[in-house]
Symmetry: none
DNA sequence: TAATTTTCAGAACATTAGTGCGAATACAGA
DNA sequence: TCTGTATTCGCACTAATGTTCTGAAAATTA
């Protein structure tokens, strides 16, 4: 990009500050006053230069029609808020977002996660673990489990599965082997268990585990 | 907050979209056209209502002087990037940031974490765990351990400690008991061990553990 | 230094855009 | 139905704001 004059730098940073402060862009005369410039035409002139240089978007005939060109260097990390829907404990019924629940999450606490993890955040939610019942999945009391509602889970992924015959829910690595389904704890020192596939219901896929010990 | 009329909701979401699209707020007439409203005064009227209800900031006599009231639900989380300094494996020497290393982190990968966890991010770094040597701390291969250089560690907190006599490094809950120091695994099913305090060197405090299973 | 380009001044001008106001409706409660 | 309040309608008005133009000063370049 072309190098900018002193004045153009002043203008640019003024615009930035102004937007930061007011949430709407400055008018040409705002800039004129803010940067001690003698004439509106000078401002207009320099705005054109800034636009040419690619630092600024300008929409003509629109008052305050300015916006800063997002600098590609300044990485903006998007975070997506996912709802903390409740707790998960041994044996207890497993909280799941229902269709009608999604629309009203106002009550639940929100947790921000990097977008790289959540994707769009659709169908992603968090549960707080209570108790040590999932110790064999290397998950302990207080941990936050990030889950994604999953239609399907690939082999080897960790999922929340319900074992129908026991009516229990656990987090295990999931391996479908035709008529049988193998559930493997994360702790490889503990043996896997195998079930009839009809006996297993996959509820959600585990995306991540977050343990905070402030 | 007061409940909004159909029209007010339409206006509000139009403003949101407009700003999202253009990076500057709409004029009253933009809203009028965008929402199929018959008169500018109707728009103005409803903008006043929206302002009263707290959904909107409005600056009179300023064209496009609108901004959405940051919805308190839509928390804007600041993230802080911390460097991933290396891997930690059983027995291997423990990577630690050195003073001169801090200034040159350009080479290392950065990880974004919510500010609530990292604070200013000063002295916070991440290590990737290799191997299952810390399974008794409920940490397994591939996990990311977030650490903070700590002058001191309070009892009960998890820390990276070096046992001098063994010259090994592990992550354990730390309990100082005068002349003796007790190290307790996160997995409470495993017994604690006690050492002479001089034999223990605290390297860093463990702030969090992040396990991602994309 | 002369020629050329860039930037600035100042003011008039043209649109864009916010405001005000009386009258017309819509709406909810007595 | 009456009545007061909330909302809508147009429209004219005024303020805010972008644009343009001429000439000159300043900076660059040859």
């Amino acid at each position: 990009m072309k190098k900018l004059s002193e004045k153009q730098l002043t203008i640019l940073s003024f615009i930035e500050e102004f937007i930061d402060e007011n949430d709407y862009p400055p008018s040409i005369r705002d800039i004129q006053n803010g940067c001690d410039i003698s004439s509106t035409s000078v401002v207009s002139y320099n705005l054109d230069r800034l636009k040419e240089s690619g630092y600024l978007n300008r929409h003509s005939e629109v008052s305050r029609g300015l916006s800063l060109q997002r600098d590609s260097v300044e990485v903006e990390i998007d975070t997506v808020a996912v709802p903390l829907l409740g707790t998960i404990a041994a044996g207890a019924p497993f909280p799941m977002p229902e269709n009608d629940t999604w629309s009203d999450l106002s009550g639940s606490e929100l947790i921000d996660l990097p977008q790289a993890i959540t994707g769009t955040g659709e169908g992603v939610y968090a549960l707080k673990v209570r108790g040590e019942s999932m110790i064999d999945a290397l998950i302990s009391d207080g941990d936050l489990v990030i889950m994604e509602q999953a239609a399907s889970v690939r082999n080897g992924q960790m999922a929340a599965v319900r074992i129908k015959s026991d009516n229990t829910t656990t987090l295990k690595h999931f391996y479908s082997e035709g008529p049988r389904t193998r559930l493997e704890p994360a702790n490889s020192q503990i043996a896997a268990m195998t079930f009839r596939s009809e006996d297993i219901e996959v509820l959600s896929r585990v995306v991540a585990v977050w343990r905070y010990m402030g």
